[in-house]
Structure formats: C-alpha cells, structure tokens
Symmetry: C2
Subunit: 141 residues, 2 copies
C-alpha cells in the first residue's frame, strides 16, 4: 500500500481554506465564543490572535465546564470571562509544505489539524473528513 | 492502492467493544444523559433501547440546545425531559460481517459507526480514529 500517489497529495488542495473556518480571537468574551460555536454547529473551533496565528482551540464543552460549578449556568457571567482563560493551548498544527503522511498521522488523534504558512500564519484546516474522503477515492479505484 | 490486504480487515477486530462504549437508554432523563456525556468526555454517544438495539445518538450540544431558549439553563428542568425527546434518530450503522470498505465510506461523514450483530443488537463502535490508525499502519510499511 506504499502508494506514492496518495502520499503526494497537496495539503493545500485538501484543506478547508481559512475564510471558511469558524474561529474566535484570544480576547473575545466567552458569550461571543459560545454564540459562534452554536451558530457554526461545530464541536471545536480554532483560536487565533490579532496576527492571524493559531493560539489554541475552544469547544462548547470547555465553556460550559468552566462555569458548570453552580447549579444554573448564568449567561451574564459568560461575558466576564475571555476565550484565553478557558481555551486549550495545545492544538495540532503543521506547515503547508509538509507531507500528506504527516496530516494522516496527526489526524489519528485529532479531528482537525491547523495548516500554517511559512511565516506561521493560519491558512486552513485539514479535517478527518477530507483525509477519509481522499483515501476512500483511492481505495475504490 | 486497490490493496485487498486493507479491505480484508475484520470489522470486529477494529471496533471498540460495546462494554467500553458510553451509552444511554431511550427513557433516561436528560440530566442523567448530560452527566454521562460530561463524565465520559465524548461529544456524542449512542442511545440504546432495553433490547440493546441502537435507536439513535445524543450529544451535549443537543441537550443544551433543547433548553437554551431561556436565559438560564435550569438544571431542574433537565429532569423533566427524556433522551428520546431530544436525541437524533438517524445514526450510522452496519452489520459486523460487512466490509471495511463500507466502514471507511460511512466514516467520511460520521465520527463513528454502530456495529450490529445478525439479530440487530449493538456489539461495538467503529471510530474514525481506529480507521485512520489502520490506514496509517498500512501506508507506512
Ligand atoms: N455543518 C456541517 N456540514 C457537514 N458535515 C458536518 C457539519 N458539521 C459537522 N459535520 C460532520 O461531523 C464531523 C464532526 O464535526 P465536529 O464539529 O464534531 O468536528 C469538526 C470541527 O470541530 C472542526 N471543523 C470542521 N470544519 C470546520 C470549519 N469550517 N470551521 C471550524 N471548525 C471546523 O473539525 C472537526 C472535524 O471536521 P470533519 O469535517 O472531519 O467532521 C465533521 C463532519 O463530518
Ligand atoms: N477519552 C479520550 N481518549 C483519547 N482520545 C479521545 C478521548 N476522547 C476523545 N478523543 C479523541 O477525540 C476524537 C473526537 O472525540 P469525540 O468525543 O468528539 O467523538 C467521538 C465520540 O463521539 C464517539 N466515541 C468514541 N469512543 C467512544 C466510547 N468509548 N463511548 C462512546 N462514544 C465514543 O466517537 C467519536 C469519534 O471517536 P474517535 O476515537 O474517532 O476520535 C476521538 C479521539 O481521537
């Protein structure tokens, strides 16, 4: 199965381009982040800084866990927290020129991988869905 | 890449067996389901009936969306709803004797697929992670 054809795939062609990726900024209040997450329908989305660099990822579960301590989730308390207070700073990332093999390896344990340009800026998202769809296309020919 | 070796993989060997799968029952109250979801750490889990047949799937987002209508999420209202009132009745499923190719195809659009026995009872979960890990093992040899 050492098929160079599948491994030669361009990361840039498979990824979801950054303009189609729902994301939030480090210093956004949590009520804004929860709204973006609910509207987008995604479980987890990337967190960027003002220079468009990836700084982490945040999920609905993280926002709710952070304030679930009391019986009621008080929506007005959400506004007092920031994304950076709650987000997960570890997020899988790779450079656009790296191999498909690396994207496949990272996707084993991560639903998405952030793709970066040479200057480190965020250019897109490599999802498990696009990797699986490519492999299925190859295997069925 | 038409590699029969990868396609011949036994579904039963790759899947997470049912005793390791976090799940809830149709008639469980929603506060119980939310607790199981938060404790398990999973985004979405299967819903079974009393005969151990898969009836749907439920996520934290669905439980919260169902009562987010008012400003505060009132935990005491969660007890009045049942899993079957909120769950998603469509869940990807396949029989244990079907091919790995079918599991791969279903995993393109679904994070997991429920594996059923010949009598329709739930025997395990095929996750994207185990499919990706297998493909990575094949591609790197
Ligand atoms: N609106 C929609 N339309 C069609 N299918 C949908 C969908 N929302 C979710 N799905 C399906 O459910 C899978 C899991 O979504 P989830 O939001 O948990 O997990 C997602 C989400 O956390 C993130 N993601 C994907 N696309 C994104 C985007 N445009 N912006 C921000 N985050 C994204 O990457 C994870 C993996 O995405 P992937 O596509 O592999 O896998 C997706 C996709 O197969
Ligand atoms: N406790 C943990 N330990 C290690 N890694 C973890 C983990 N929780 C989540 N992950 C990682 O995050 C991915 C997405 O998890 P999620 O809960 O959104 O989505 C999960 C969850 O909805 C469901 N799932 C997986 N295992 C389950 C289980 N034992 N019981 C119930 N549902 C399960 O299948 C989806 C896909 O699972 P998959 O393993 O492909 O992909 C998992 C796995 O790579």
């Amino acid at each position: 199965l050492k098929d160079s054809q599948i491994m030669d795939n361009e990361i840039k062609e498979l990824m979801t381009p950054h303009e189609k990726v729902a994301h939030v900024q480090l210093n956004n209040p949590l009520d804004h982040a929860l709204l973006v997450l609910i509207k987008s329908g995604y479980t987890t989305i990337p967190v960027l800084d003002t220079e468009y660099k990836v700084r982490g990822q945040i999920s609905k579960a993280q926002i709710l866990d952070s304030i679930l301590g009391i019986e009621r989730i008080e929506m007005e308390r959400l506004h007092d927290y920031k994304v950076e207070d709650v987000m997960n700073g570890k997020v899988p990332r790779m450079n656009k020129n790296e191999t498909f093999g690396k994207a496949l390896m990272l996707s084993i344990n991560h639903p998405f991988v952030c793709i970066e340009d040479d200057d480190g800026s965020f250019i897109g998202l490599m999802t498990r869905r696009s990797i699986l769809a490519l492999i299925h296309r190859h295997l069925s020919h």
